[in-house]
Symmetry: C2
Subunit: 353 residues, 2 copies
């Protein structure tokens, strides 16, 4: 004997206005802290009370449609399964949240088409800015977005186009520190597993490596660098095997990142190489759990959380000021010394008393 109830529809601004006996426009003004001063204090509090009692929640979609804003920024990640990114995301969210912004994450899987379509979908949802972790040195899509005036900060990697604001690690200094550490231990023949040269991290670390060798008066013949096609364990293992098979003599390896270094560990096991007695290794990033390896990996620590928080701060600044002073920030890196580096087995003659 029950009467049919109308479907429960969430209360709208109109309902609040009706309940408070005011026009929707007035209710809108009362509800928005920025415009609240425009309305009579008593009226305002009445509106707020009614809104509260009705459980009114403003509809952000309607608001976006009207204002073309969304209080949201998009986060473009190449591969979430890389342990690098979660701390970056955390850093970004910790800054964005208190500022009233949400972050929407998308995962491109390192696929340029997917990247374009995802960025498209974010933009059409009125995200107010982008934080992009997928930069390649040549990146027409990002150049175009920048030209269109899209608010955007690159993170972790940069493009060759220095007009795009970015927050990255100071890779060159990081590599120099790693080389200095190994040279101090007595190493004279150091090799580098270079990451993809179409990324700034791959290229900068590679160049800095060669420069550091020269600075320390170490051998810098090109045979001491092996190219990796991707930032993966497999490529790291392949590259190290290549150097060993070519009969190169070396006592230490600087890997372009920790995943490449992880690949080296596989080769150690495979070929009975003992680390660091036979070969020292340095990684890059100091990613989570890397200290749990045997031996724990010496790695150049990149402050990922700070990368994220700094990029978020920079973007917020850009969203606030219409004329945006573009900057690029390099954050300092530090070497975390662990047991994967030690003196070379045969101390070179020139180092003996």
């Amino acid at each position: 004997m029950s009467t049919t109830l109308p479907p429960v529809r969430p209360p709208t601004l109109r309902d609040v206005a009706l309940g408070a006996g005011v026009h929707p426009a007035t209710a809108s003004r009362a509800l928005n802290p920025a415009t609240r001063p425009l309305v009579n204090t008593e009226t305002a509090s009445r509106v707020l009370r009614v809104a509260e009692s009705l459980g009114y929640r403003p509809n952000p979609i309607a608001r976006s449609l009207k204002t073309s804003r969304s209080a949201t920024v998009g986060l473009v990640i190449p591969d979430l399964t890389n342990p690098l990114f979660p701390p970056i995301v955390r850093g970004i969210e910790d800054v964005l949240g208190p500022a009233g912004y949400n972050a929407w994450l998308v995962n491109t899987d390192n696929d340029a088409d997917r990247e374009e379509s995802l960025i498209d979908s974010l933009r059409s949802r009125q995200v107010e800015g982008l934080i992009v972790a997928t930069a390649r040195l040549q990146h027409p899509l990002l150049d175009r977005l920048h030209a269109e005036g899209v608010r955007m900060v690159l993170i972790n990697r940069r493009t060759a186009n220095a007009d795009l604001p970015s927050v990255t690690g100071d890779d060159a200094t990081g590599v120099a520190t790693a080389v200095a550490h190994l040279a101090d231990l007595g190493h004279r023949r150091i090799v580098h597993l270079a990451g993809p040269q179409n990324t700034s991290t791959g290229l900068v670390r590679h160049r800095a490596f060669l420069q550091a060798l020269r600075d320390h008066g170490l051998d810098d013949d090109l045979g001491l660098v092996a190219q990796c096609a991707s930032w993966s364990e497999e490529e790291g293992a392949r590259a190290l095997r290549e150097l060993l098979d070519a009969g190169r003599e070396f006592t230490a390896v600087i890997a372009g990142n920790d995943l490449l270094a992880l690949g080296c560990y596989d080769v150690f096991a495979e070929r009975g190489i003992e680390c660091p007695r036979d070969l020292s290794v340095v990684g890059f990033n100091d990613m989570p759990f890397i200290d749990k390896l045997r031996p724990p990996l010496t790695s150049v620590r990149v402050p990922h959380y700070e990368l994220g928080s700094e990029a978020a701060r920079m973007l917020l600044e850009g969203l606030r000021s219409p004329t945006w002073q573009v900057r690029s920030v390099l954050l300092p890196l530090t070497l975390t010394r662990r047991q994967s580096t030690g003196p070379p087995r045969h101390t070179p003659a020139e180092n003996l008393g």
Copy 2:
């Protein structure tokens, strides 16, 4: 002497309609594949041509406002820095993408308030469903959402309320397999580091452990379980120390998950315990890079990618059919045997010929 140009406004449906000489409604029908059959083939192709040439992109915000739909689902993650989740996300996106859906990720940081506000923000953005990885056994918020008819699938963990559809690993069987493996190796005194008992994974694994001990006729006094307050290395280390300090005798540890097992490794180093000679360890999840530990960790593999893809399929089904047959799925787990488990040092007397 330049005239002021109007700001470049992205073309709207109206612009397309104007260009094609039709009414906006007709243009809308032509543009939407589902309604295209309603319009004259020639007209349709004309509209499409104009849309193409104008670079028209439908505005999903306006569409959402009108239709109350969004082609988007929300993904609620407790802590993205846990390596568990990236593969889950990948599995979800791989199913959602081809179905025309986007996923928006949010990170609750295990904070119930943050969780509520983020879910709120997703819902107000008209997400059509939720995949929730934050379930606790008692979870009033999720109960309420379910009661409100929100389309939702729990993943990895469940609530005590079995009405909520879920996709989880078959933890009980997984634990039984681990115990069987250790028993086969000759272990008689096995301890368990139990994860938080307010999560289904923590509780189910704990109970299954006790059951498995009984099934194998092993000792099951309660002193062989140590409680961990969180799924962290620190708690794992603390719990193991507690058992050792209490003078418990045991030859093997089943950790509630890999992070707890990682904590055990710290204690091994600290106390000069050699694994597996002095103590065997089994982890849970088989998370990335866990095979790179020394010794590589034996772990119960949870098929995270499949958890994600299955949950996504289930949710899509729910979105399509108004009457949703709620199911809960348990995916089978498998033991990945590595070098952290071996026979106990002293084979118990009853096992000697």
